[in-house]
Each structure stands twice: as structure tokens, then as C-alpha cells.
């Protein structure tokens, strides 16, 4: 297999890693106002992803860096072209990340409400815009002979792109609800399971419509297989949720997201960013790629270090495998200095 193909596959794997893992973080974030009935439950939700979300987000950073290294032209065209949506994603990620880190650092209700809003908006905006972005990448956008994007923000807000955004929002919300059902205990666990089922039905309708449309536009035989498997995984996830098999249900949405992203990449190949202006202007795995020397170096790095990363990230999931319930949440107190014995100096 050509190295450019290997790297196309590796970048697909990085995005699959990002969406399957950060997908449930986004879902949990979006559902905080829906699922939590009181402050302790809100904190159960925050803490369910507490030790995990930061590591999950690194998949995005590595996907970005790997695209820069392996397909510099793709990185340049995509990031400068999808400028405003990416800016919005960055702003959203900033406030979302700080919501995790800072919410519990002050016990004032106003402070906490403010960060709750940041978490919800900061989870919703990327969940929506990543879907819009990937739908547009697959469908093709106006790119000129110099590999420059010539559209505007509104070019991206077409029906197919918006449907893509709706699908990611619904899928991630379902995935997040499945995660809460799997990772928490008590009342909220059952509410999350019930909500996952309802959200999952809506997600299934939107996702199937989107995948059929994507397949009709740019699909190949292999993308059709991935899309069909994604749909089957979603149906199994819902069936498992119906039976209360939370682990299988979560594995189901995990597979759905992974297979759907795989389907998009298979539909894309051998292009990486097709041009809707002229086929000749499309960015492909060949004309957007780095040299074979760089790809060889990067392959060695990936082969050696990816398994190590997977091992320790897996270990961290293992360490934090237990369910979290309301009684695990310690009372929030202001930082206090230890009592000072007055010596009367």
C-alpha cells in the first residue's frame, strides 16, 4: 500500500478516535441541563467524564498535527477555508474546557451557572460544526486552481452540511446519554437510559437520511458497507438500550460513530478535499501529501508510539471504570487556610 494511503487511513483513525471519544464528552456536556435535576447530579455528570475528556481532546490535536505533517496542502486549504467555523469551534472548546476545570473552584451559584452555560454551548457548537464541516468536505466545496477555498461561511451552510451537523449533534447526544447510563448510578442512570433511547431514535432517522444522501452523492462500494454497518450498529445500540444492557448500548453508539466517520472517509478517498469548482482542482491523497521521506519518518513514529498511547489511555479508562453516583460527590467548600494559632505577637 502507498504511504499516502496509509496516512489517509491513519488520519481517518485519528478522527474516528476523536469523534467516538470526545463525542460522548460533547453529549454529556449538552445534556447537563436536560438530565441533571439538582447540583449534585450536575456534578455527577461533570465527574463522569472528569478524568477522561482532556485525553479525548488530544485526538483532535494529533489529527490536526498529523494532517499538517502528512498532507500540508489539505491542512492549509481546510483550516484557512473553513475559517469562521473553526474559530467558533476553538472559542467553544476554550470555554468548555475551562468549565470543567473552573466550575468547582468557587461555590457561588452564579459562578457555577455561568460555567454550566459555557459547558452546554461549548459542547453543542463543536458537535454541530464538526458535522457541518465533514459533510462539506465529503460533498466538495469551491476550491480554485491554487488550492484555495473560494467560498464563504454561507457556502458551508447548505442543506447537506446542516443535516450533517444535525446528525453529529443527535448522535453525540445519544452517545453521551448512553455514557451517563453506563457510568453513573442512581436515578440519573435510568433517566439517561430512557433519554438515550428517545434521542437515539431521532438520531437514527437523521443519520440514515444523511448516510443515504452521502452515499448517493459520492459513495463507493466500501463506504456503502461502512454506512450499512453503522446503521446496524445504531439499531443494535437501541435494542441493547431497550433491554437495559448499558455496556452494549454504549459500544453500539461508539461503533456507529466510528463506522459512519469511516464511511465518510471511504467516500472521500482518493480525494481529501474534492473541489466543486472543477475535478482537476480537487486535493487528493497524492497532490496534497508530504514527501515519502516525511511520511516514512512519521510512520515510524506512529508505529512506535501509538500503541504506547493506547495502553496508557486504556489504563486510565480502567482506573476510572467505576460508576459515579450522587453519594460519591464531596461537598464543595471554599478554599480555607488552616486555623492560625494566635501567639499574640
Amino acid at each position: 500500500m502507498e504511504l499516502t494511503t496509509v496516512w489517509f487511513a491513519l488520519i481517518a483513525v485519528l478522527w474516528i478516535g476523536y469523534f467516538t471519544l470526545e463525542g460522548f464528552d460533547f453529549g454529556v456536556g449538552m445534556l447537563v441541563p436536560v438530565l441533571a435535576r439538582n447540583d449534585v447530579e450536575r456534578r455527577v455528570m461533570y465527574n463522569s467524564v472528569g478524568p477522561l475528556w482532556d485525553g479525548n481532546e488530544v485526538w483532535l490535536l494529533v489529527a490536526g498535527g498529523a494532517t499538517f505533517a502528512a498532507f500540508p496542502e489539505w491542512y492549509a486549504t481546510l483550516f484557512s477555508g473553513f475559517y469562521l467555523p473553526l474559530l467558533l469551534i476553538l472559542l467553544a472548546l476554550i470555554v468548555r474546557n475551562l468549565a470543567f476545570e473552573y466550575r468547582a473552584k468557587n461555590e457561588s451559584p452564579g459562578w457555577q451557572r455561568g460555567w454550566d452555560r459555557c459547558l452546554v454551548i461549548g459542547s453543542f457548537v463543536p458537535a454541530l460544526l464538526w458535522g457541518v464541516a465533514f459533510a462539506n468536505i465529503t460533498a466538495g466545496v469551491p476550491i480554485d486552481a491554487h488550492k484555495e477555498f473560494t467560498g464563504t461561511l454561507f457556502t458551508l451552510l447548505n442543506p447537506f452540511g446542516l443535516l450533517g451537523g444535525l446528525v453529529t449533534v443527535l448522535l453525540f447526544a445519544t452517545h453521551g446519554a448512553m455514557f451517563i447510563a453506563l457510568k453513573t448510578d442512581g436515578d440519573i442512570r435510568h433517566r439517561a437510559g430512557a433519554l438515550a433511547l428517545r434521542l437515539g431514535l431521532a438520531a437514527a432517522v437523521a443519520a440514515v437520511a444523511f448516510m443515504v444522501w452521502a452515499q448517493a452523492r459520492t459513495g463507493t462500494a466500501s463506504s456503502a458497507v461502512a454506512f450499512v454497518l453503522a446503521a446496524l450498529a445504531l439499531v443494535s445500540a437501541l435494542a441493547a438500550a431497550w433491554k437495559g444492557r448499558e455496556g452494549w448500548a454504549f459500544a453500539g453508539t461508539f461503533s456507529t460513530i466510528g463506522l459512519a466517520v469511516a464511511g465518510l472517509f471511504l467516500a472521500l478517498f482518493p480525494d481529501v478535499m474534492p473541489s466543486s469548482t472543477a475535478t482537476a482542482f480537487s486535493l487528493t491523497t497524492t497532490n496534497a501529501a508530504a514527501t515519502s521521506y516525511t511520511l516514512t519518518v512519521m510512520t515510524w513514529v506512529a508505529v512506535i508510539f501509538t500503541p504506547i498511547v493506547l495502553v496508557y489511555q486504556g489504563w486510565s479508562y480502567w482506573v476510572f471504570r467505576k460508576r459515579i453516583a450522587s453519594h460519591h460527590i464531596p461537598i464543595l467548600t471554599a478554599p480555607v487556610a488552616p486555623p492560625v494559632p494566635v501567639t499574640g505577637k
Binding site: 494532517t67 500540508p72 474559530l87 470543567f100 473552573y102 521521506y293 512519521m298 513514529v301 482506573v319
Partner: protein, 479 residues
């Protein structure tokens, strides 16, 4: 302003802002790891208190460092797409490796450290903070390798067909001679920052808690540890900076001539501590000069010859062709903005020397318990972390603005690096929204920092034994 100007302002604002937090993260993660290791090995309660206290401040700081770091990685593609196309083959690799080796390590193990109290066995838990610290060092190494390549491109060839720089020798990029002096300089500066941070915070708390024998002794200990690190790392910063100056004189003589505003070649060359000149910086009215010092700094010999700006400009024009347009940088084309390079170089050195001297002084007065009730030195201590952080900012401003008009020295000018498809409106939206958000975050961050500093180190509490934990044990730490 056009897109290049706006994009440059954005890069300057968000990168300097990001780097306010980075050195504290690198330095403090190492110091907290040492505190925790000391506690694990000796069982002394005070070290657990210091671990918990500075660990909390570290986390508040780390959060902002991480979120502002995400923007860094994306803005190359967003604002500098022609740069990204041109250098991606070389520059992308260290960035991707940084993500894979450093970011995963830092974020995964930080999660384990934060939530691992009372859950992981003591020794495993302390290993997680070391892993975080190792991650910060990996991160510095790869990003500085990328930056060093912009300062001094090596291990590549220019491909005229694709119009790109292409990697030919990965190890040459990793061990670029600029990188070999820059990495120690930056990492030592980070330890100096971490040390000064501990010194400043503990100095303040020492003064505040002077009526409590236990606490004032605890903070005095932290003061002395912080001061010793500041001083030792400060000496290292000076030595590595000296090497860096000599390497920079070889690879970018213009930058070093601009650091001194040396218009004409001198042998030997003196170094001015202070210059008062006409506003364009070309004519001096008054200066305090140390004879032969510039020769020594630049070449290692007191009688060394140092090239002047005018001679270098003629040399650059002969080598690289006509001046690359005069619009963006200075009326002198290949010459960076002299007042900026001149003063940023002096502020960097001056603030660094101030901090190291202050730390030495504090070590002196606090020896053998010294004069623990003296009020002047804790106030001095509080100034030191601010001085070191500002010294870092000035250092980066010097090294990056001193390279102008080049983005990649000798290969690509900054004016050619900007994204052609981005409009001025888009660039404005970006710089304004990011700057506004960052300003708000600064207020929040300093508010939080202050709140937690004021509260001081928490009282000692025996950490829960992981073996005693049941399914119902509450989390030792929770969001």
C-alpha cells in the same frame, strides 16, 4: 491594516499570552513532582501540604495554558496557510510528534493525577505527576525544534517543482544547532519561572502568616527552595543564553546587530546598557557603554569583529536579492524594527538579572532562619515571578521580531506566509474575539489564583489509603 498586519498582531497577542502560562506549567509541574516525591520518601507532612497547595495553583494555570495552546496549533493553517503549504513537510512533523508524544502524556496523566488521590497507590500516583512533567519537556523539545527550524532551516531541500521546502534529514531538524542552545535556554527559564512562582507566593504567605510559627516555617522553607531554584536556573539561563547569542551571531547576524543597534561593523564592539537616541533609533544622544562586551557576547573573544546593520543589509541584498518590500517591517527592508530588538533584548536580560539577584539576596537574608520577620524581602519576592514571566515575553518578542522580515530565515518572508483566502474582515473577527475572550480569561484566572493563594496551604490530612476504598467512598477530588 491588511490581513498580514492583523494576522501578525493575532500571532503576537495570543502567543505571548499563551507563553505567560507555559513556563509556569513546565517549571511548577517539576517542582510539585519533587515536593510529592519528597513526601512519599520521607513522609514529612509539610511536603504534602506544599504538594497540594502548589498543585492546585498549577492546575489553575495549566487549564489556561492548554486552551490557549489549542489555538496555536490551528492558527498556522487558519492565518498562515501559505506558510503551512511551504513548510508543512518539515514543520508539520515535530508538531504531530508533539501531539502524539507530549499532549497525550500530559493530559492523560494529569487526569490520573488529579483524580488519582486516594485511588492510586502512593508511588504510582507520584509517578503520574512525573509523567506530566516529562510530557511538558517533550512538548518544549518538539515545538522548539520547529521554531529553531524557522530560525535556522536545516535538513531540507527546496523543491522548485512544488515550490515547497522538503524534509531530507529528520535528525538534523531535531538537533539543529539553534535547537541545541534554545531548548536548554527555554527549559531553564521555565524552571526559573517555576522557582520564582513558588518564591513569590510563599514569600507573600510567609509575611501574611508571620504570627503562626508552623505556617511561617513552612512558607519559609518554600521560599528558600523557590529562591534556590530561581538562582540556579537563572545562572543556567544566562550561560545557555550566552551560547545562544554566539550561535545566533553565526546564523542570523542581523538579529544580533539589531539587538545592539550596531549600525556599522566594529572590532572590538562595545555593549550599551542604556541608549537615548533620536526616535528613529539611528542617532544616539547619550549612552552608557561597556567596552568590548558585545564582541565577547557575540564571538566569545573580547576583540571579536561584530558585523553592523548597514554591512549586513548590503550582504543580505546581494545574497537574497532585492529587499523584500518595505511595507511591513521597517524602512530598511531586511532590517528588523531596531527599537523593538534593542529594548526587548535589554528588558529580557535586565529582568532576568533582577530576578536572579533578588533570589540570591533572599537566600542570603533567610539563611539559618535569617530575619524571618523582615518585611522588605517578601515584597521583593512577590515581584520576582512577574519579572521572570515578563523576561520570557521579551525574549520571545526579541527572537521572533528580530528574525523579521523572515518567517523562515532566508526562505520565506512573513508577508508571503499569510493566507490568501482569508479576508481582512475574517482576520479582524478572529483577533478581536480571541483577544476579548483572553482578556476575560485573564481576569478570571487571576481572580482564582488570588483566591487560592490567599487561602494558603491546606491543613495536613492523611490521604486515604486506596486499599480501604469501598464502592461508596466519596471521590477525593471532584469537579
Amino acid at each position: 491594516m491588511d490581513v498580514t498586519d492583523i494576522a501578525r498582531w493575532q500571532f503576537g497577542i495570543i502567543t505571548v499570552y499563551h507563553f505567560l502560562f507555559v513556563p509556569i506549567t513546565i517549571g511548577l509541574s517539576g517542582i510539585v513532582a519533587v515536593f510529592q516525591t519528597t513526601w512519599v520518601r520521607t513522609g514529612k507532612q509539610e511536603y504534602l501540604r506544599l504538594t497540594k497547595f502548589f498543585g492546585k495553583l498549577f492546575l489553575i494555570n495549566f487549564a489556561i495554558g492548554v486552551v490557549t495552546g489549542i489555538v496555536q496549533e490551528f492558527q498556522f493553517g487558519m492565518n498562515w496557510s501559505d506558510y503551512s503549504r511551504f513548510v508543512g513537510d518539515v514543520f508539520g512533523a515535530p508538531l504531530a510528534i508533539e501531539g502524539l508524544l507530549a499532549f497525550f502524556l500530559e493530559s492523560t496523566f494529569l487526569g490520573l493525577w488529579i483524580f488519582g488521590w486516594g485511588k492510586l497507590p502512593k508511588k504510582v500516583h507520584v509517578a503520574t505527576i512525573w509523567a506530566v512533567h516529562l510530557g511538558t519537556l517533550f512538548s518544549s523539545f518538539f515545538i522548539l525544534a520547529a521554531n529553531s527550524w524557522m530560525q535556522h532551516p536545516v535538513g531540507y531541500r527546496y523543491n522548485p517543482t512544488t515550490g515547497r521546502a522538503e524534509l531530507t534529514d529528520f535528525w538534523a531538524v531535531m538537533f539543529n544547532k539553534v535547537q541545541l542552545v534554545t531548548f536548554p535556554h527555554v527549559v531553564l527559564a521555565a524552571y526559573m519561572t517555576g522557582g520564582a512562582f513558588v518564591l513569590g507566593v510563599a514569600g507573600y504567605l510567609h509575611l501574611k502568616n508571620r504570627n503562626s510559627a508552623d505556617d511561617s516555617a513552612l512558607y519559609l522553607k518554600a521560599v528558600r527552595i523557590g529562591a534556590a531554584i530561581t538562582l540556579a536556573a537563572g545562572l543556567g539561563v544566562a550561560i545557555s543564553g550566552d551560547f545562544q547569542g554566539k550561535v545566533m551571531t553565526q546564523v542570523q547576524p542581523m538579529k544580533m546587530a539589531a539587538a545592539e543597534a550596531l549600525y556599522n561593523t566594529e572590532k572590538p564592539a562595545s555593549f550599551s546598557i542604556f541608549t537615548w537616541g533620536t526616535p528613529d533609533g539611528k542617532t544616539e544622544k547619550f549612552a552608557i557603554k561597556v567596552p568590548k562586551l558585545l564582541s565577547f557576547l557575540a564571538t566569545g573573544s573580547v576583540n571579536g569583529r561584530v558585523e553592523g546593520i548597514n554591512q549586513l543589509r548590503a550582504e543580505y541584498t546581494a545574497k537574497y536579492g532585492q529587499d523584500p518590500g518595505t511595507k511591513y517591517y521597517s524602512p530598511d527592508g531586511y532590517v528588523p524594527i531596531i527599537p523593538v530588538t534593542y529594548w526587548s533584548f535589554r528588558f529580557m536580560i535586565g529582568l532576568g538579572v533582577f530576578a536572579a539577584t533578588g533570589a540570591a539576596l533572599i537566600l542570603l537574608v533567610t539563611r539559618n532562619g535569617g530575619r524571618p520577620n523582615g518585611r522588605w524581602w517578601p515584597r521583593l519576592a512577590v515581584l520576582l515571578p512577574i519579572a521572570v514571566v515578563l523576561a520570557s515575553s521579551w525574549g520571545w518578542l526579541f527572537t521572533e521580531m528580530g528574525r523579521q522580515p523572515w518567517a523562515v530565515f532566508g526562505l520565506m518572508t512573513t508577508a508571503h506566509a499569510v493566507s490568501p483566502s482569508v479576508s481582512a474582515t475574517e482576520a479582524w473577527i478572529s483577533v478581536i474575539s480571541l483577544t476579548t475572550l483572553y482578556a476575560v480569561l485573564a481576569v478570571i484566572e487571576f481572580g482564582l489564583m488570588w483566591r487560592y493563594i490567599k487561602a494558603g496551604a491546606p491543613a495536613y490530612e492523611e490521604p486515604a489509603d486506596p486499599h480501604d476504598a469501598t464502592d461508596d467512598t466519596p471521590l477525593a477530588f471532584a469537579y
